[in-house]
């Protein structure tokens, strides 16, 4: 008697079978699609707009599922289903631009994604052919130098702020890091340009200047990311090392940094990804050129974002050739960022504390 009563208190209402929800989703989209096409054929047009199809399909699905679930399963589960639908829709909406962008770049970029693109510069090329080797080399060199400057400065600054900094100086540094995070990239370019004009005179163009401009943008990102990672290293580990008679600098170097390394590597990669697509500062200080230039300390240097911009903005006679090259450049840039992300994942997988 008692047990059966207990059971009945815990027993809810019946659940909808698992296949109901996906089947309904497909059903409503198909219905919506056919309704639209029926309307469209009435209007004597073959084109079907997918946006209303999705909107009406989704609305029908959400409302019907809610009502059905409320009748069969009760209020709580109906609300759960409604919110699940809302959250999934938001997720899909967020994905649409991303997928659309990747799709557009790949389909448009693949036309010129060939050997010539990676082995030739644009020197003496008018119209078809040519490549972006000069821009790829420029981007890799300038971003590489920017990374070489920013990573040590950023990591050391973060170590200072977390492990050593006290009082006014630390607060000032934190404040300026916050300010620097918001510096518009063109201002960073102007800063680098103004700095180099002091030493080389007006009209200076140099890859190194681009690297300086990019590190101005990169350093605050590296500091922030490293700070966050150092903060989550448990204090007990520092104390454990101190208690073993390990000096503070060795504790930081051999206990704190290795523990945080995976996160720091990810942060650095994010910082690189943030600056590798910068156009404005590089346009200013690194300039643009159609020729190869391996030397970042002298003369104009092409970079991929600037290559994409100039190809698109200054189209020549065979317009399609220029547009194709711009897309191929964009695709290359995207692939570089993706490879960097993969490297970051490998690093964090390899170095993160096991256990």
């Amino acid at each position: 008697m008692a047990t059966s009563q207990l059971q009945s208190t815990f027993q809810g209402t019946r659940d909808l079978p698992r296949w109901v929800s996906p089947l309904m989703l497909v059903g409503f989209f198909l219905t919506s699609f056919f309704l639209q096409s029926a309307l469209a054929s009435g209007a004597d047009s073959v084109e079907i707009n997918l946006v209303p199809v999705a909107v009406f399909g989704l609305l029908g699905y959400a409302v019907t599922l809610y009502v059905l679930s409320r009748i069969v399963e009760g209020v709580r589960k109906a609300t759960d289903r409604l919110v699940t639908t809302l959250v999934s829709t938001a997720f899909a909406l967020a994905l649409i631009p991303l997928i659309s962008l990747a799709y557009t770049v790949v389909t448009n970029g693949v036309a010129r994604f060939d050997m010539e693109f990676f082995t030739f510069s644009m020197r003496n090329v008018v119209g078809e052919g040519g490549g972006a080797l000069h821009a790829i080399v420029g981007t890799l060199e300038i971003t590489g130098i920017a990374t070489l400057i920013s990573v040590p400065v950023g990591i050391l600054a973060a170590i200072y702020l977390i492990e050593y900094g006290r009082g006014t100086i630390a607060r000032l540094v934190t404040f300026f890091v916050d300010v620097m995070t918001g510096v518009p990239s063109i201002v960073a370019g102007l800063f680098a340009y103004a700095l180099f004009v002091i030493f080389f005179g007006p009209g200076v163009r140099m890859g190194l200047g681009g690297a300086i401009a990019l590190s101005v943008l990169m350093i605050p990102v590296v500091i922030r990311a490293t700070e966050e990672m150092l903060k989550i290293v448990p204090n007990e580990l520092r104390e454990a090392a101190y208690a073993l008679g390990v000096p503070k600098w060795l504790t930081v170097l051999k206990v704190v940094l290795p523990t945080a390394l995976a996160g720091i590597a990810t942060g650095v990669m994010i910082a690189i990804a943030r600056v590798i697509g910068e156009t404005a500062p590089l346009l200013l200080i690194a300039g643009f050129t159609a020729s190869m230039n391996y030397n970042p300390f002298d003369e104009r240097m092409m970079t991929l974002p600037v290559f994409v911009y100039t190809s698109y903005a200054n189209q020549g006679v065979d317009m399609q050739a220029y547009v194709d090259r711009a897309w191929a450049g964009a695709l290359t840039l995207m692939i570089i960022v993706m490879v960097l992300n993969l490297v970051a994942r490998l690093i964090s997988k390899y170095f993160s504390p096991k256990g």
Binding site: A240, Y242, L244, V246, L250, K254, G355
Partner: protein, 259 residues
Amino acid sequence: MSKRIELKSLDVYYSSFLAVQDVNMVIEPKAITAFIGPSGCGKSTLIRTLNRMHEVIPGARVEGQLLMDGEDVYGPDVDPVRVRRQVGMVFQRPNPFPTMSIKDNVLSGYKLNNSKMSKTEAEELTEKALVGANLWNEVKDRLDKPGSGLSGGQQQRLCIARAIAVEPDVILMDEPTSALDPISTAAIEDLAVELKEKFTVVIVTHNMQQASRISDMTAFFNIAGTGMPGKLIEYDKTEKIFSNPGQQQTEDYVSGRFG
């Protein structure tokens, strides 16, 4: 090696706040000394002054004298890092280094200080320290696995192995069993009793049974109220503290009437 520790009118401050006032006591070598008392009475603060660990907190300082075999630990030329090499410490929560293997954790006192040692030396030392911490049989087949994969009690014994590997004179234990189950606690207690053959052992505990089981000397600390400094109320042989204490406060505490 084990050393006698003498505290002479020791005051501990956090900035201007007096946390522990006027402690006078002699901690005997080759014995276990237990610090007991209610929360916030300054036991942990005091034990951390013994290896100058409290200095990690900004503004913490000490007045009075702390002598280790007659040598002033707070003397003007004393390097806190050198003190800590002679006074090992085990913390409340087991804290093995997550990036290191079990073996590297045991040797961390050397490795983190960039000391060079041969492979055989390292292996001998690892075995000796792990045997000393009663952990050898459980981990000898997985010395290269990460230390964080062990159970809580094993991790704590790993931390003890790490502390005794550098061959200190004194071992401080700040509530070493408060995060452990009774079986692991028993293992740590047995270990503490073995350790006193070679080291001066000081243990902070909230567990009065633990203090009465393993310690030779017991110090009872108390605090008059919030914001007041903690004081050493009574310090005597453990049997005396638990059977026939000289102070009413001590009797109230050990008989469970408060705290």
